[in-house]
Amino acid sequence: MNIAKLPLKNIISYKKRTIGLILILVILTMSLFGGSIFIKSLNNGLDSLNERLGADIIVLPKDAESEVDLQNLLLQGTPGYFYMDKSILNDLESIEGVDRISAQYFLVSANADCCSVKVQIIGFDEETDFTIKPWLNESYQGVLKDDEIIVGSMLSTKVGHTLKLYGKEFLVVGKLEKTGTGLDTAVYTTGDTVKTLIEAAEDKGISILSKQSPDDVISSVYIDVKDGYDIDTIVSDINLNNSEVKAVRARTMMTSTSDRLGIISSAISFFVKIIWAFAAIILIAAFYIITGERKKEFAALRVIGVSRKKLGVLVMSEAIIIGIIGSVFGIIITGAFMYSFSVLIGTRLDLPYLLPGVVTTTYYILVTFISVVLLGTISGLISAYRAVSVDTARILRE
């Protein structure tokens, strides 16, 4: 037994005190680490959604639901479909200032095998596509053949397996990187395959199109505007000249999402700050009170020849050890929860939610650890100051 072993001994033997202090530190850690990961995940989700949209203008059929449907698809992964006449594509192509233009086809599977869940099928044009392919290329370089599909990260089907859609087997040739958006729950294939699927569905008696032939329809058109042309002018041009369709700026569509995200982020960071302020006060007060109650113990140590300096180090060490234990516990608990239930959090939020990668997470772990241990150290410093100012002679007289 010597003085160096005393901090650990004290931490172990005064269980209630230790647990109480660690609990406060765990709350501090959880709020900071959890809050940072949460806000970062929301921002990541929005960034990846912006990236995935990758177009300036989106053209949709002009019925009330199509825009809402597209938003639901992007944000929550709720499957949806709508169609408009294919001829619009030619009209749009001829507009001055249009750089790239590509159509997409949406379809919803009646069911897929294994679990009964409807799957969004997105068909794109191999030749003209510029929004999906850059993303697909991260996981699959080849050209999609008929009856081949690429699946979003949320589908548990593996590459090389097949997926049954409308009674037809499709080979999974690629799996996409996670985006945290509704696009993760979709299946991607060529426009031709979607047409085949529509026909297959109609063979099974599931009517998808009222009168048109699958060859005559598209679901949406993505437009990239040439540099130097005003996107808003082109949007209003399209809306003025085509009564059947509605053009929206991709960024406008994201505004409400990013607004909601902004509100949630600031609310969370506000709460984190409040929790920190309160917990920090409680922690410092707790250390202060505890030190006051330990005066006799400190006086006893002074009597046996422990210098003021050593006494301060002793009290500080206790605070730092407790700080380390508390922050490590808090980080493990929060990490386990945030990473295990990330899908649940994302679905409940109805917002794009993408957890940060290893590097960013490590950064947050370090920042949290340092902040919490630092706060522990500050509380320790205050107690240490109080401990060394103990008037030994006065306590001896009491």
């Binding site: 010597n2 005393l6 002074r302 020849g305 002679a393 001896l396």
Partner: protein, 224 residues
């Protein structure tokens, strides 16, 4: 080691007001010699505890000096004084002063400055009749056992000076005798022993007797 304290003056200012000063020790001179038991009698509040706190380097007086041979204690910094106290001074405080989360043996060894002199601790535990209690926590001990443990802790480093503050305060007659005998023995071994007490039975063990009253120290007229 001879302690030579000169012109010690300790006072407290009440509520920080200068004109509200209470004098605790008033110009006290005292010399403590090795090999003798010095007993300071006095009622509570007479300034005895404050005086030995000053002598043990725990309280810097407003005026005066404390010399251990040729070392002027209060001319040194806290690190030096603490180290000096640890090595040379055994202090037995009044009341319960053990760390309640440590066992008797751990409490004694905590004060040990040359590593873990387990043998010396065992020896003291044996000597003080605490053998059966060495793995007990201090909360499981009686008042007499606690006091004996505090004495063992004070003696672990073979100090040349021992201060005992009311060492028999809460003890029965048997324990009182054991404690005084032990301190007497320590003096025989060459240490300077200072006992402050209001227990007149200490008189039988004293070589030099002082009486303290209202912060003033005087050699007892019933000097041996």
């Amino acid at each position: 080691m001879t302690i030579d304290a000169k012109n010690i003056l300790v006072s407290y200012t009440k509520n920080g007001k200068k004109d509200n000063t209470i004098s605790i020790i008033n110009s006290v001179d005292i010399t403590i010699v090795p090999g003798k038991v010095t007993v300071i009698f006095g009622r509570s509040g007479s300034g005895k505890t404050t005086l030995i706190s000053v002598l043990a380097g725990l309280l810097k007086p407003q005026e005066g000096s404390v010399l251990y041979d040729d070392i002027d204690l209060y001319q040194q910094n806290d690190d030096f004084i603490s180290d000096f106290r640890s090595k040379n001074i055994g202090f037995i405080p009044q009341g319960q002063s053990l760390l309640s989360n440590l066992t008797i043996k751990e409490n004694i060894l905590l004060a040990n400055n040359n590593g873990n002199d387990s043998d010396r601790a065992e020896e003291l535990i044996e000597l003080l009749g605490l053998s059966e209690r060495e793995e007990y926590l201090s909360s499981q001990l009686s008042g007499g056992e606690l006091r004996r443990c505090a004495i063992a802790r004070a003696l672990i480093n073979q100090p040349s000076v021992v201060f005992a503050d009311e060492p028999t305060g809460d003890l029965d007659d048997d324990n009182t005798q054991i404690v005084f005998e032990l301190l007497r023995q320590k003096a025989k071994d060459g240490a300077a022993v200072v006992i402050v007490t209001h227990d007149e039975s200490a008189y039988n063990y004293a070589d030099i007797v002082y009486r303290m009253d209202g912060g003033v120290l005087a050699l007892s007229d019933t000097q041996k």
